[in-house]
C-alpha cells in the first residue's frame, strides 16, 4: 500500500506561465527513504511543498492531478490537518526558528502546544526527540544563540517531535559540515527504519548513495530517472543534463574510457571507487 501517491501532477505558481511540476507520477511505500536530486530550478522544492501541502494551500496557483498522502487528498484537506501527517523542514535553519520561544526545549514543544498534546506527554516526546538528534545538551540555550548546524538540528527535531507519517526535507544539510551531515542522515535513516517515509531533496551524492533506498532525478519539473541510487546516480543522462555528479563517478567514467575501470557499474562513493580500482 503506497502511503504517498501522486498521479499526473502538474502545478503552476500564481502569475507564472511555465509549470513548476509537469505530469509527476510518484508512489512511495511506508518506510521508504527517497532522495530527490536535480539542478536548481528543477522543481525539487516545489515537489517538497506539494507533498507537504503548501502547494496549493499556501502558494495558491493551479494544481491538476491528484496528490494523496496517508489516504488524504490534498484538494479535500486543510493545511493545518495536513501537517499532522506530513512534516517539512527546509534549507535555511534561521528562518525555521519560530521566534515565539526563548529556549530550545520550548521551541521544540511549540508544535506540540499548537496541536494540543497534553503537558506530560509533550515533555516526554520533546526529551525523546532531542535525545535522538543528539541535542539534549542545548535544551536551555536560546535558539538564536546556536550555530547554523545546531539550529538546523533543532528545526529537524521540532518536526520529528510531531511524529509525522511522512517526513519531507528540502536540502536540510546545505549549511552543515560533514559531521552534522552524517548525524542528520543517520537520524533520518533510523526514522525510515522505524517506518517513517522520508523524501529528501539533496545535492550530496555520496551521502545519498550510502543512505537512500531510491533516487528520483528531476529536470525542468519532470521526473527524468527513478530507481536505485547506484543506477540513477551513475546514469549517463545526468551528465548530459548538467546534474552535479559525484567526483568518484566522474573519475571512474574517465578511467573506463581509458580501460582502467573493469566493473559494469560506476561508483558513487569513495569505498566503491577504492574497491573497483583494486580489482
Amino acid at each position: 500500500m503506497a502511503i504517498v501517491n501522486l498521479q499526473n501532477v502538474t502545478y503552476k505558481y500564481p502569475l507564472t506561465e511555465k509549470p513548476a511540476l509537469q505530469n509527476i507520477d510518484l508512489q512511495m511505500k511506508e518506510g521508504e527513504f527517497v532522495a530527490v536530486i536535480g539542478p536548481n530550478g528543477a522543481g525539487k522544492s516545489t515537489l517538497c511543498y506539494t507533498l507537504a501541502g503548501f502547494v496549493p494551500h499556501f502558494f495558491k496557483g493551479e494544481l491538476t492531478g491528484s496528490v494523496e498522502v496517508a489516504r488524504n487528498e490534498t484538494s479535500k484537506s486543510n493545511l493545518h490537518e495536513w501537517v499532522l501527517n506530513v512534516g517539512l523542514a527546509f534549507q535555511n535553519p534561521f528562518n525555521q526558528i519560530s521566534g515565539a520561544k526563548y529556549t530550545v526545549f520550548e521551541e521544540i514543544a511549540f508544535g506540540l502546544e499548537n496541536i494540543g498534546v497534553p503537558r506530560e506527554e509533550m515533555k516526554g516526546r520533546v526529551k525523546e526527540a532531542m535525545k535522538m538528534t543528539g541535542i539534549s545538551d542545548l535544551a536551555d540555550r536560546s535558539p538564536y544563540s546556536l550555530s547554523g548546524g545546531q539550529q538546523q538540528r533543532v528545526a529537524l527535531t521540532s518536526i520529528l517531535v510531531m511524529q509525522p507519517k511522512v517526513l519531507v526535507l528540502d536540502e536540510p544539510t546545505s549549511q552543515m559540515d560533514p559531521i552534522g551531515t552524517r548525524e542528520v542522515f543517520s537520524v533520518v535513516r533510523t526514522m525510515a527504519e522505524r517506518g517513517m517515509t522520508v523524501i529528501l531533496a539533496e545535492h550530496k551524492m555520496e551521502w545519498i548513495a550510502n543512505f537512500a533506498d531510491r533516487v528520483i532525478a528531476l529536470h525542468e519539473g519532470q521526473i527524468l530517472v527513478d530507481g536505485k541510487p547506484g543506477e540513477v546516480l551513475t546514469s549517463d543522462v545526468l551528465t548530459e543534463k548538467g546534474f552535479g555528479i559525484s567526483r568518484y563517478t566522474s573519475v571512474a567514467r574517465r578511467a573506463r574510457e581509458l580501460g582502467l575501470w573493469k566493473r559494469d557499474t560506476l561508483p558513487v562513493t569513495l569505498e566503491e571507487a577504492v574497491k573497483g580500482f583494486k580489482e
Partner: protein, 252 residues
C-alpha cells in the same frame, strides 16, 4: 480633571464601537486570514524601530518610524496596519522609554489610514502615494493633537520646540499643537509613504500576491509625463490646502 476622564471614556467607547463594527461585519477578518500577516507584523515593527534609529544617526529632520506600519496597512489591510502601529509604539515603550505609549492611538491611526487609502487604490502610483501620505498626516494630526494637549502640549519629542515657541508668541495650546503638527507631519508622512512605495516596487508581484491584500500594491503602469503633471498639480493643491488650514489657525 474629571472632564478629561469623561473624554477618555468617550474616546475608548468610540474605539470599541469601531472595532466591534469591523469585527461583526467581517471587515477585520480578511486582514488576519493569512499567517503571512502574523509573521510580517513583527518584521514591520522591527523595521519601524531600526529605521527610526538610523534616521537619528543620520540626523535627518524626519522620524520615518512608521514605514513598516504603512507596509502592513497596504499589504494586509487597515486593521492589521492599525495593530502594527499600536504594537510598534507599545514595544518601543518597553525597550526605549515609555514616553512612546501615549502615542499608541496615533500610530494605530497611521496604519489604519494607510490601509484604507490602499484599499481605495491609492497606493498604486507615486502621486497617489503622495496623497495617501498627506491624508495619513491629517489623520495623525487629528488624533495626535488632543493627546498632545492632554499631555500639556509639550512632550519629549523634537517638534515640541516649535510648540514651545508658538506658545511664547501668545497662542493657545491647541492652536500651537495643531500648527506644529501641520508643519511637521506632512513632510514626514509623505516621505514615509514614498519610501514604503519604493520598497513595494522592489518586491516581485508573485511575492506580494502572497499577502491578504497584495493586489493593493500591484503598481499601475502609467505614462511618465502625465504622472509628472498630476504629481505637480497634487503637490500644489496640498501646499494650498496646508496654507489654508494653517494660516487662519496662526492668525486667530
Amino acid at each position: 480633571m474629571s472632564q478629561d476622564f469623561l473624554n477618555l471614556l468617550i474616546a475608548l467607547a468610540a474605539v470599541g464601537l469601531v472595532l466591534g463594527w469591523a469585527y461583526v461585519t467581517k471587515r477585520m477578518q480578511k486582514d488576519f486570514s493569512s499567517t503571512m500577516t502574523w509573521v510580517l507584523i513583527p518584521v514591520a515593527i522591527a523595521i519601524n524601530i531600526s529605521i527610526g534609529q538610523l534616521v537619528l544617526v543620520l540626523k535627518l529632520p524626519v522620524y520615518l518610524d512608521s514605514i513598516g506600519t504603512v507596509l502592513v496597512g497596504v499589504l494586509c489591510g487597515p486593521w492589521a496596519g492599525a495593530l502594527t502601529g499600536a504594537l510598534s509604539n507599545f514595544v518601543a515603550g518597553i525597550i526605549f522609554d515609555p514616553g512612546w505609549w501615549p502615542w499608541i492611538p496615533v500610530a494605530a491611526t497611521i496604519g489604519l489610514t494607510a490601509g484604507l487609502c490602499a484599499n481605495a487604490g491609492f497606493f498604486k502610483t507615486w502621486w497617489k502615494v503622495v496623497v495617501t501620505g498627506f491624508l495619513i498626516a491629517i489623520a495623525a494630526t487629528i488624533v495626535g493633537s488632543p493627546i498632545a494637549v492632554l499631555l500639556g502640549g509639550i512632550s519629549a519629542s523634537g517638534s515640541s520646540i516649535i510648540t514651545a515657541f508658538l506658545l511664547q508668541t501668545g497662542k493657545g495650546i491647541l492652536e500651537s499643537v495643531l500648527t506644529t503638527n501641520f508643519l511637521v507631519e506632512p513632510i514626514d508622512k509623505i516621505s514615509t509613504s514614498l519610501l514604503a512605495f519604493a520598497i513595494l516596487d522592489g518586491l516581485s508581484a508573485r511575492y506580494l500576491a502572497r499577502f491578504p491584500r497584495g493586489e493593493n500594491a500591484q503598481l499601475d503602469q502609467q505614462r511618465r509625463t502625465s504622472e509628472l503633471v498630476i504629481a505637480l498639480v497634487t503637490v500644489v493643491i496640498l501646499v494650498i490646502v496646508t496654507i489654508v488650514f494653517v494660516v487662519p489657525l496662526t492668525n486667530n
